[in-house]
Symmetry: C2
Subunit: 226 residues, 2 copies
């Protein structure tokens, strides 16, 4: 006989978004104990009839109003003492949200929800600061070798916006000329032959990332690197 | 009140080893139902008083006699129907074992244990073929950008052994001259000024990977790539 071990399973989601100034993360304010009133990652218990990933998507929608976004499993945090309620193991996910085209609605389950700059976070409940640290490290590592950064941009973007994304995620300044040359040489962007509308500065050309071009090039041995 | 969800938590371990001919994986033959008599990854239920990673290390030792090896979390498999016993979520790990310096002892808990070439595997229990596929993909992706491959080699190795490792993991032939030039240019190997003993062919120089050199170089912006 296999005992039902008294281990409970939760999901937690690190949702990244990018605005004109910062890389941001979505937090909810807890409406129940423990850590009542503290800011925390959206998440909750996995239900018996749903997959772990479905639980993450459900919690994202219920607590933060986030739907149909890029979502990837991050890491499972399984230390014995990580939750004051007893033995709770959490499977963490990270999501990338395009704040430009899909501004978020208010949360339903949570008391309050807000976007915080990664550089200026409040104290977090549980081990959520550690989960967030691991997520930011994953994002920084992955954005250079896989085209996931485009998930944070509007569908049509300028090369300055793309460069800004990399500068904010990697937290360093990039040379404009080099960056553009490298990006365009990859041959995975489509020049839309359009320019920005309603901007104060000189309107720039708009591009979009082409998933099919990327796949075709990858099959022929191309490695994305920025 | 928080219900104890009837979800049970296991760990499963993909143990890779390298011999002169193949990249191999360690399997155990199941002594209990379900899948009695089938080959499977070593693993088992997480105990309430141990961390998830400790559970993986315990199962590796109990079932496969593997101790003190490189072990890293791979992915958590959380589909609803993945285990005929009911709702069981498994946290998968992968381990890299140096078969040259540490030949394994026989298993204790398992009926039988064996090394199988990745190219010639038996049918596996549960979704273990899927877990193994994800592990092999991770190894192939990671070995190029992080110096984890050295875990599969003896402490002192020849450049031919190192090249063989990359050829077996990546499943392609590499140009000898280019490979050596690239490896030595990284400046993370120590030439031991020794040659192989007791080999039939012409004895080759021995090297070792230097973790400190690697860290120092990485801090100065070096990126491992092979």
């Amino acid at each position: 006989m296999i005992p039902i071990t008294p281990i409970r399973l939760t999901v937690d989601c690190v949702v990244f978004g990018l605005d004109d100034t910062d890389l941001k993360v979505l937090l909810i304010r807890r409406g129940i104990e423990p850590f009542l009133g503290s800011w925390a990652l959206p998440g909750g218990f996995v239900l018996p009839a749903e997959s772990v990933e479905d639980a993450a998507r459900r919690e994202l929608e219920e607590e933060a109003g986030v739907r149909e976004v890029f979502l990837e499993q991050l890491f499972t945090f399984g230390e014995v003492e990580r939750d004051p309620r007893g033995r709770v193991v959490t499977v963490a996910y990270y999501a990338l949200v395009n704040l430009h085209d899909h501004p978020l609605t208010a949360a339903t389950d949570a008391d309050d929800v807000g976007w915080f700059a990664l550089e200026d976070l409040p104290a977090l409940a549980f081990d959520h600061d550690e989960i967030l640290r691991v997520a930011a490290e994953r994002l920084r590592g992955k954005v250079r070798y896989q085209p996931i950064g485009f998930e944070l941009l509007p569908e049509k973007f300028t090369l300055s916006q793309l460069q800004g994304l990399y500068e904010k995620v990697l937290d360093r300044t990039l040379d404009k000329r080099n960056f553009r040359r490298k990006v365009l040489a990859m041959g995975i962007l489509i020049d839309l032959d359009e320019i920005q509308q309603d901007v104060a500065h000189r309107a720039a050309r708009l591009y979009r990332f082409d998933e099919n071009l990327y796949r075709q090039r990858t099959e022929r041995g191309f490695n994305f690197e920025l």
